[in-house]
Symmetry: C2
Subunit: 356 residues, 2 copies
DNA sequence: TTTCAACACGAAAACGTTTTCGAAACACAA
DNA sequence: TTGTGTTTCGAAAACGTTTTCGTGTTGAAA
């Protein structure tokens, strides 16, 4: 008979289990007070050399580590910050988290990640839940639904409780707090100008509906660039896409019904989809149509042809956001500084989808 | 003179600041004991209808929320789980987090994200740090360095302290715990067989160095498929790539020096890079060379041509991992069940990079 | 009037720390 | 012996909860 499983004796397992040791247990074992143990471990001069060494040796032997929760309760800080983002599958948001995590870690903070799924309710629930002591501060980018509703009471509430909030990318003027953004208008302006400089005039815009702040701003930049080059704005060339819907056929229509020379898309997905549809319609990129996207993600980089984009540098944004939050946390109740809005430089990454 | 800034009076700010109210404060205000307040809020029958209502009204007015840290200390559970992954920028890991987060949230848990950056030390530090009360359990995928060193003491230690650990994707046999994996050998076998079924025989493999567990297993599957179809294994067609190095020219060599009919790549990056280099060398995909990748990521989907891949379903993996961990947390100290290893089904997603 | 429930509430312990303050013990000078 | 310091330690409060147990009050039954 073959043995198929190895059953592990429970008492044996428990023997191996060194449950976490506490100050109280050490104190009892060494027959001193809890205070003495605590002080010894923190090398207080109040305690004699002898006792200190004895305690420290014992603590090391039993691998004593102070309980973080108890410390949090005592210090009223958790050394944890929370980042709330609409979703994590987007490359941009993943890079932001990466940036946040690194800076946070360097400063001894941990990062709690919450996904709002673009839902107002989840955003509210998460914030209310966590504001009750679990974390020291928030970094967040608004969900689409929140931006549409323009209801920010959950954020004001948290701020009024004295908890710092740093907003990034999708922000709102209705909340006073630290912010990290890019100059969407300017970046879009530059991207459009870049196309115009190549001698292209019939430039289509694929953007989001207006309540998405960044979409609106980028649309603004696009229009501004056209105007300052005395190119008429043709509303037929502007496609506003509701994010939930299947948008392929809209782009197909756009490309079929207009002899477009270039496309500026406000995100990566729109850009790559336009590229694929253009291909399907027998247009060559960049010979027939030039394409510029937004967000320097993995798609643009590995697409064929690779796509010229406006790079947002999510890692930098995340890093700066974490730095701002932590600065505010650590300087707390010193002079209340004014809230700052920091603008991160964007960069046009030229690739194969635009002709030169 | 134009006003450039609006200075906000600090006392005013503080007036608006409703700092978190505690049981003690409510008790004092209503001139009852803390116990009475606590019981009232939890609708204890010990307390008279009158008092209960009074307390509840007051608590609602001042927006009382119990302090999570205090609760954690009392209950010895934090309702937080930690996921440690090598990096977040990889689409696969992002999807896993997404899966974890959703299931965790459904069950009232929060998710702490730690990035090991493929570094053994960071993995160790993070685990040791957090094991001291901050979280209830771990979900993790090993860093490359840890796999190389084969040093898992930090994980055993945590487990011995009674903290449950669930490993996924990059796991090891040296640790006894719950695991979620895919059958890498089988999936690679199928992918290779898929190519063979198309009549392709000269199939190259682009894989990682052997210490990466999944790379090794997928290599095994590839070889197995060749053998069972009586195709000789040509080591020249097997390219093992060290992850840190710049590998483009290796792939280029591989493609130039052999008249390859198909490529099986163990990850997305290798696949798309091979595709681009093949293109550059004037080969048509899939007419001249068929390509299959691994990990159903964003790159494969939006590449041109889109890439046939083995889909790992990270969301499902993450969800299952979270479920397993939470089950163990909540059933704790009931019968110690045996550790389970769950195998997630993979799926071959057929796209344009393989001919039919 | 006594007795006994039932009711309504409070005191205190517990979770694991840190820190303040007081005090015991001892040494040493006057 | 007394007074003055110094050294070394412990008690207790504090952080914010929950929960056990005790207790005082009331009303009714005996």
């Amino acid at each position: 008979m073959k043995k198929k499983y190895i059953f592990i004796d429970k008492s044996l397992v428990n023997k191996k289990m060194k449950r976490k040791v506490t100050l109280k247990q050490i104190a009892k074992e060494l027959d001193v007070s809890i205070s003495t143990v605590s002080k010894s471990l923190r090398n207080s001069l109040e305690i004699s050399e002898d006792t200190r060494q004895k305690v420290q040796a014992f603590a090391k032997l039993y691998n004593y580590k102070p309980n973080n929760i108890a410390l949090s309760l005592k210090n009223k800080k958790t050394k944890t910050i929370c980042i709330i983002i609409p979703e994590i599958i987007h490359h941009f948001f993943a890079t932001v988290i990466s940036g946040v995590e690194h800076v946070a870690n360097e400063n001894g903070y941990n990062v709690l990640v919450c996904l709002s799924d673009e839902s107002f309710d989840k955003e509210v629930i998460n914030m209310e839940m966590l504001a009750s002591g679990s974390i020291d501060g928030f970094i967040m980018s608004l969900s689409k639904e929140t931006q549409q509703k323009k209801d920010f009471h959950h954020i004001t509430e948290v701020i009024n409780q004295g908890m710092p909030v740093v907003m990034f990318d999708r922000v709102t003027n209705e909340i006073l707090c630290d912010k990290i953004i890019i100059d969407d208008v300017h970046a879009a302006y530059n991207a459009t100008q870049f196309l115009i400089d190549k001698g292209l005039k019939k430039i289509a815009l694929i953007t989001t509906v207006d309540y998405v702040s960044v979409g609106k701003l980028r649309t603004e930049g696009y229009k501004k660039a056209l105007k300052s080059n005395d190119i008429d704005i043709n509303e037929n060339l502007i496609l506003k896409i509701e994010d939930t819907e299947d948008f392929d056929h809209y782009i197909e229509e756009l490309l079929q019904n207009n002899d477009i020379e270039a496309i500026f898309a406000v995100n990566e997905l729109f850009a790559v989809t336009a590229l694929k549809i253009a291909n399907k319609l027998g247009k060559n990129i960049p010979e027939d149509i030039s394409i510029i996207g937004f967000t320097d993600g993995i798609i643009s980089k590995y697409s064929t042809p690779s796509i010229t984009t406006v790079s947002q540098n999510g890692i930098k944004m995340g890093g700066k956001a974490a730095k701002m939050l932590i600065d505010r946390l650590e300087s707390e109740d010193e002079e209340e500084e004014q809230y700052k809005t920091e603008v991160i430089e964007t960069e046009l990454v030229e690739r194969e989808s635009t002709k030169n």
